[in-house]
């Protein structure tokens, strides 16, 4: 064991293809989860905005789901949906709710009332007001939710490795390295998964800058 180095570059060199495949799988699992999670959360947020009384219940539910350990949820779902993609994606999706819903609701709450009054008074239809005023002005907080949910999901994808080597993305290497007492694999899986999360986060920061040039102008004016 003592002879085993922390990183065996020759192993990495010999496995570049499979490593890249795992990165692809990792992104695939994360993108599906974040997209579906975002769509459902948007619906939940819209419902919460229209019917304020429901908002505490939506939050409570999302929080309750979030308290379930991911390991336990993956394991429990095997009983229901076997070793299918659903078993991998359902936990990833439901964990995003508590990260998305409050940010989306806050994003729409942050649209100033005088701006809405002016929009109504100038003859926006309610659909035009939503698309052209409310949605663009909610972007900063909605993107904040996307950053949180994406980073969290990229981390959680690794846990789905317990469902077998068809899942887990880079988590496969972490689990495999653990079983084989092979630190190179653990490092490759862990560091690349951190790298993906950081890159995705930077991507969203860039996206927000592109979508909200007015926010940068405001910061410069202060």
């Amino acid at each position: 064991m003592n002879s085993e180095p922390l990183v065996r570059w020759d192993w990495i060199g010999a496995h570049l293809g499979p490593i890249l495949d795992r990165v692809g799988q990792h992104l695939y699992l994360a993108v599906i989860a974040v997209s579906i999670g975002f769509a459902i959360s948007f619906g939940l947020a819209a419902l919460s905005i229209r019917r304020r009384r429901l908002y505490p219940f939506v939050t409570l539910l999302a929080t309750a789901v979030y308290t379930i350990p991911s390991f336990a949820m993956f394991a429990a779902l095997v009983v229901v949906s076997g070793l299918s993609i659903f078993t991998a994606e359902i936990p990833l999706v439901v964990y995003t709710f508590i990260l998305f819903v409050p940010n989306i609701v806050a994003g729409f709450d942050a649209v100033p009332q005088d701006v809405l009054d002016a929009a109504d008074g100038m003859g926006y239809t309610s659909a035009q007001r939503w698309w052209q005023v409310e949605l663009p002005l909610s972007v900063p907080l909605v993107v904040a939710g996307l950053r949180l949910a994406t980073v969290s999901t990229i981390g959680l994808v690794t846990v789905s490795a317990i469902l077998g080597d068809r899942f887990g993305g880079l988590g496969y290497y972490i689990l495999d390295g653990y079983h084989r007492h092979f630190p190179t694999e653990i490092l490759v899986g862990g560091l690349l998964s951190i790298g993906l999360a950081v890159l995705a986060d930077l991507g969203f920061v860039l996206l927000r800058r592109l979508l909200t040039p007015w926010a940068a102008a405001r910061a410069a004016a202060r």
């Binding site: 701006v115 009054d117 002016a118 109504d120 008074g121 040039p213």
Partner: protein, 336 residues
Amino acid sequence: MAATSGNSGAASLEFRAVTKRYDPGTASPGAVNDLSFEVPAGAICVLVGPSGCGKTTSLKMVNRLIEPTGGEILLDGVNVQTENVTALRRRIGYVIQQVGLFPHLTVGWNVAVVPGLEGWSKPRQLARIEELLALVGLDPERYTDRYPSQLSGGERQRVGVARALAADPPLMLMDEPFAAVDPIVRSRLQDEFLRLQRVLAKTILFVTHDVDEAIKMGDLIAVMEEGGHLAQFGPPDEILAHPASDFVARFVGVDRGLKRLSLRTVGDVQVGPIGRSSGLPILPPETSLRDALAILLVADTRGGIAMDEAGQPRGLVTVDAIASALGDELPARAGA
């Protein structure tokens, strides 16, 4: 100042027994009771009164942000309730106290909001932006691409006025438009707006709680009192000279005589022979009689020298002459 694109002119506005009840049986703030008055095309009508008197409610019933429970509002003789609400709002300019500029749009695109909704071509929108910014005194080159967060309060309010004028509406609704800026800026915005209005001649319904602003801006003033009743309707000088009730007299203030002086200028007053003129203050013709009186009292002289438009001495103005000017009725400004 040239308004090059076609001016759609102004519309007449009439309130006929307009009523808004919120909670049947109780007097709630913002309610309006049997409100009737007529504003001729091209006049500024100011709704003034204490808070909760229903003036903002009345304004918002015109563009149907609030629907009346009774009566009707006629725009050029047509009941606004029979019109498509979106189309109606797009042909009525709307300016509010907090301005409500869209923070995510540049100044230029804020101005072009209604033209954009109405599907104008882009070149036509750009031309309109340039024209309107120049009209409200903002250099288009410097301001078009700025965001609202980069403007001062006064600049924002000018953009708000330009935005409301964009589709050349025959009627403008202005809800305390100058209340959020400091007194010096407010006074300048008021003066500029009155100068603009002499060119545009829009019909304007203007809400304020400030009597002085009402007197300054209004061709006609509707004084409203609690419960949404119309206490008095008429030109400013008439309301100041002959308040219809104790409420109106109290509301316009014990200094209503002085306020009437502010409606008159040195150019309106009878003058006497000047005699020995050394040391007497010089009074240009556009000086209000209120200011002239203040100048004479401070200078402690028998009078001041009234100048004419050409800058030549016209004659001597005395404190007595200023006082007697209050006996004259003012020519109506409405619909000028």
